[in-house]
């Protein structure tokens, strides 16, 4: 299809043309590079979301009335949603795959220690990859335990010197809980969506609106050649933005990178295909740039709000949470956060990769099929 020399020459020509046009739009270029940095700085220092209904695992190694009463306190709280009862070894796995955000580990002998009037340590393990969840979540856990201690003392009627249960908080991943560490993977995914879906989609609509698209399609240029010539420059642009953001993140904000490049690249690749597909589909159904812009906003806003990019998904109302499953950005962010902060590999992220893969195949495939027929019409 794209094998022969003429085809390759035409693709190179189209890319040359695209870069010329991009270079003549200095405002756009400045915007594309300044915006993510600005966002990084803003979000890097601002944390203000309400964290609720964290998916919680309780590991009850004590199995006594006291340990059950402690679990009941967590269950009764709005902030925690006890969904799992794994073994002690199972916690890591659940956290790797993002099925829980926090785990409460009650060691054997807790009731006995308390009965002896000793301090009983219990473990609170939080997932630090979303810094808001981690810092706010461990704070709430401390409150729940304090309330449990207070009730226990009131009920026993004796004045005990020992403070009762003592929470030992351990943060897995991102132990310094820097918000910027959480922000960077999300920002990287958002950049892909903006540069490729929104900016490239706009460029296609502009070309149709001006008639230059029709003019090109009466020449020997084939739709595939046009698409490759169009997408490549914007994919390169997005890559340059990513490197800039990653550079600022690593060297200025000292964000550690724990993961494998291959996982990040695979996740970004799938998400780029999805974004290209969305951009093309929008440009096909819009007749004017204004229409396209409105449609883009209609996609971008819920994506940013519901994907966990800005607000943690766990703290959204339960009725709304399933919506986030239908947003590709949700899965891209989970993959990137997993890979950046937890160093998760393909195995731990296999669900996320499957879902994002299905999105990529369906959306990109639909866009290519529709484009081949209708791009110039």
């Amino acid at each position: 299809m794209i094998g022969d020399a003429q085809s390759r020459r035409r693709v190179r020509l189209l890319m040359w043309k695209e870069f010329l046009q991009l270079r003549r739009d200095p405002l756009l270029i400045r915007l594309l590079f300044v915006m993510p940095i600005l966002q990084l700085v803003l979000f890097g220092y601002v944390v203000a979301a309400d964290v609720k209904n964290l998916s919680t695992a309780v590991v009850d190694l004590d199995a006594t009335s006291t340990s059950r009463a402690l679990e009941a306190h967590f269950t009764a709280s709005d902030y925690f949603n006890v969904t799992e009862h794994p073994s002690e070894d199972g916690v890591q796995q659940l956290m790797d795959t993002s099925r829980i955000a926090i785990a409460i580990v009650i060691p054997a002998g807790t009731q006995a220690a308390l009965d002896r009037g000793e301090t009983a340590p219990i473990g609170v393990v939080v997932d630090g990859s979303d810094s808001q969840v981690a810092s706010v979540g461990s704070g709430y856990a401390a409150q729940v335990i304090a309330r449990f201690n207070a009730e226990r003392m009131a009920n026993s009627g004796v004045v005990v010197a020992a403070p009762g249960i003592d929470a030992r908080v351990r943060v897995m991943f991102n132990p310094t809980l820097a918000a910027v560490n959480t922000m960077i993977p999300g920002l990287v995914a958002a950049i892909v969506m903006i540069s490729i879906m929104a900016v490239m989609g706009q460029a296609v609509v502009k070309e149709r609106e001006r008639g230059t698209l029709e003019q090109m399609f009466v020449t020997p240029i084939k739709p595939v050649e046009y698409l490759i010539g169009k997408v490549t420059p914007y994919a390169l642009l997005a890559t340059a933005q990513l490197l800039l953001v990653a550079g600022v993140g690593v060297f200025w904000f000292k964000v550690p990178f724990a993961g494998q490049i291959s996982v990040v690249a695979a996740g970004l690749g799938l998400f780029m295909l999805t974004s290209i597909g969305l951009g093309l589909l929008i440009s096909l159904v819009s007749h004017t740039r204004q229409q396209a812009q409105q449609l883009m906003m209609l996609l971008l806003l819920p994506s940013f709000v519901l994907s966990g990019f800005i607000f943690p998904i766990d703290s959204m109302p339960a009725a709304i949470q399933p919506l986030s499953w239908f947003i590709p950005l949700t899965w891209a962010i989970e993959i990137l956060r997993g890979a950046f902060i937890k160093g998760s590999g393909f195995e731990a992220l296999s669900t996320q990769f499957w879902v994002l893969g299905v999105f990529a195949v369906v959306i990109f495939g639909a866009a290519i099929a529709a484009t081949r027929r209708r791009l110039a019409e």
């Binding site: 020509l13 010329l20 008639g211 230059t212 020997p220």
Partner: protein, 338 residues
């Protein structure tokens, strides 16, 4: 050819591979609306084929089907002998297209646009150098190669678009309303360029809604509401399409005379033509009751008398050869009758 100037003979025949363009039953629908309704025509090679019709009649839609950018709902089309509907790629190298609105890249320079389209058509460096020189000379753009096309004025843009559309020396050129929005002097200059191309053997397919441009063409087709209502050379169309007599009326009070004519028995159509009025007279009805019915001179005398009696003492009448505009008004009026 039938009385209304239409090639009824073509419908149902196979398309002609020797013609530059051969179209049979070509149809395009947008939802329930039929924009082009089963048209048939042939354009022999070397012609300047004028595709005429008012705005919204289906000219652009037809061109887009013939250039392979829009798929028809029914019908066949051969372009330079190739099936453009199913295999547009076989012939794209051999035709050029200048669209209705300026479609070069406005944020690129003259030189960059030429270089881009030369590359798209895979011109060798030598041939590009030669064609670039030709286009710059033809469009009078020497010295402005590095200007953004957004900064060119309309006339220049039009000539640059023509040059770009012909940079690969096509055998056939589609021009969709190439003179839209251009002043009369620039229109004349542009037609000179088109004659020049035709002189070098290029077949031209030109759409326009300026009836006065029809006489520049060697062959014409009139499209109205998606259907062809006449086809042939300008001479044939004038001769065949109007069997009625056309009278030109010079009168002081044009508006009142027009009102009066529109209500007068025997007048099929009356309309302004320049500063004068044209009236299409049905000879049978007009002559009724007078001697010499059907004789042009008698009809003129008859209507001169009627107008003067109606108070238009200064009216002078003369029989004229129908212009293409007369033909078109007449054909449209006929097409509108149920």
């Amino acid at each position: 050819m039938s009385a209304d100037g239409r090639h009824e003979g073509l419908a149902g025949t196979p398309p002609n591979p020797d013609a530059a363009l051969s179209v049979r039953g070509l149809t395009k629908r947008f939802g329930s609306f039929t924009a082009v309704d089963g048209i048939d025509f042939d354009v022999p090679r070397g012609q300047i084929f004028g595709f005429l019709g008012p705005n919204g009649s289906g000219k652009t839609t037809t061109i887009r089907m013939l250039t392979g950018t829009s798929g028809p709902d029914a019908g066949q089309a051969l372009v330079l002998g190739e099936d453009v509907i199913n295999h547009p790629e076989r012939v794209k190298q051999r035709f050029g297209y200048m669209s209705q609105k300026f479609a070069l890249f406005e944020d690129m320079t003259v030189e960059e646009n030429l270089r881009f389209y030369a590359g798209v058509y895979d011109l060798s460096p030598d041939r590009f150098a030669r064609q670039r020189e030709y286009v710059l000379t033809m469009a009078d753009l020497h010295g402005r190669e590095n200007e953004l096309t957004a900064n060119l004025s309309v006339g220049w843009r039009q000539r640059l678009a023509l040059g770009t559309a012909t940079i690969h020396e096509p055998e056939l050129l589609f021009l969709d309303e190439p003179t839209g929005g251009v002043d009369p002097v620039a229109r004349r200059q542009f037609w000179d360029l088109l004659y020049d191309l035709a002189g070098r053997g290029v077949t031209l397919f030109v759409t326009t809604h300026y009836m006065d441009e029809a006489s520049h063409c060697t062959q014409l087709a009139f499209i109205y509401r998606g259907g062809l209502i006449a086809e042939g050379s300008p001479h044939d169309i004038r001769r065949d399409a109007i069997t009625e007599q056309v009278i030109e009326v010079s009168v002081g009070d044009v508006d009142a005379a027009l009102d009066w004519l529109e209500r007068e028995p025997g007048v099929e159509e009356a309309y302004l033509s320049g500063a004068r009025l044209h009236a299409v007279i049905d000879p049978a009805a007009a002559g009724a009751g007078t001697s010499g019915a059907g004789d042009p001179a008698a009809v003129v005398a008859d209507y001169t008398g009627r107008l003067q009696r109606a108070g238009f003492a200064d009216a002078t009448l003369v029989t004229v050869e129908p212009t293409l505009e007369d033909v078109f008004v007449n054909l449209v009026a006929r097409a509108q009758q149920p």
